[in-house]
């Protein structure tokens, strides 16, 4: 995995990890698999517990990617951590609304809001 191209930009803000997706399109099985593994690694390998996923760059997101986000949410919850999503553009937010996943995820408009009171 370490040799695979990095798909998340990681930034530490205090004790919170901000992971920003690099890809514009989170589509295609292989792609989603790699992104998913790098995301899961934040919890499983690095033991991070307070994570903000930043969607600034994301223009497309398929249902398979939603599946990875659900698994990620479960992993963070199981580790007694906290996961927030932020900077989701309106079309993508609609995807969360249609699938009612906006009820599951803690979604904030901006990164500042996501970091507030974490």
């Amino acid at each position: 995995m370490s040799t695979a191209q990095r798909r998340l930009d990681i930034e530490e803000v205090g004790d919170v990890t901000v992971a920003r997706f690099i890809d514009k399109k989170i589509l295609d099985e292989t792609n989603i698999q790699i992104i998913g593994n790098q995301m899961f690694g934040l919890v499983d390998e690095d033991g991070r517990k307070r994570i903000v996923l930043d969607f600034t760059n994301v223009e497309y997101l398929s249902s398979a990617a939603l599946g990875k986000l659900i698994t990620m949410d479960k992993k963070v919850k199981a580790a007694k951590g906290k996961l927030r999503l932020c900077c989701i553009r309106p079309e993508i937010y609609e995807v969360f609304e249609i699938t009612r996943l906006n009820k599951i995820f803690d979604i904030k408009k901006t990164q500042e809001e996501a970091l507030e009171g974490f």
């Binding site: 497309y60 398929s62 599946g67 698994t71 995807v95 249609i98 699938t99």
Partner: protein, 183 residues
Amino acid sequence: MRAGLVEVGSLVPFQLKRWDPQPCGEPRRPAEPEKSPLEFAQEMTDREQFEIFIPSETAAGQAVQDRIIQRLEARGFTDRDVFGIRLSLEEALVNAIKHGNGMDPSKSVRVCCQIDTETVVVEIEDEGDGFQPEEVPDPTAEENLERPCGRGIMLMRAFMTRVEYSDHGKCVTLEKRRSVEGE
């Protein structure tokens, strides 16, 4: 013009034989008598279509997606339409390649696309065993919300004007009528 008409005429039998965007068993749409032959011919020349067979690989699915999206962008479909169509194509192609054909390299996926000034219709057919779309559990039901799968069909239905399964779930027809900017 004459040459154009001849060319248009030659397209018709192909469309009747190979392309039927209406669901089986439903009466054909009546002819539209208000259109003059010239108007009809002009509309036909604005119409483009292609049919290809792609291998059961997601990269091939991406390539055909790009090809369709480029055409829609060139025709000025709105960003929102393009977003919904790309997402729906992705979901339908992944379903056909992965769930239908099980990524089997000996099987292919047929993609037939027809675009005119108002509408895009894409038919995607796999060589799998089919499935019952109505038996896919509702992913928005409380008990299914945390399940990581089963949202593709729902997204297609939300973003497209028409989504229809035929041939026991082996073939899906996606249709999108273009929106007017500002709608």
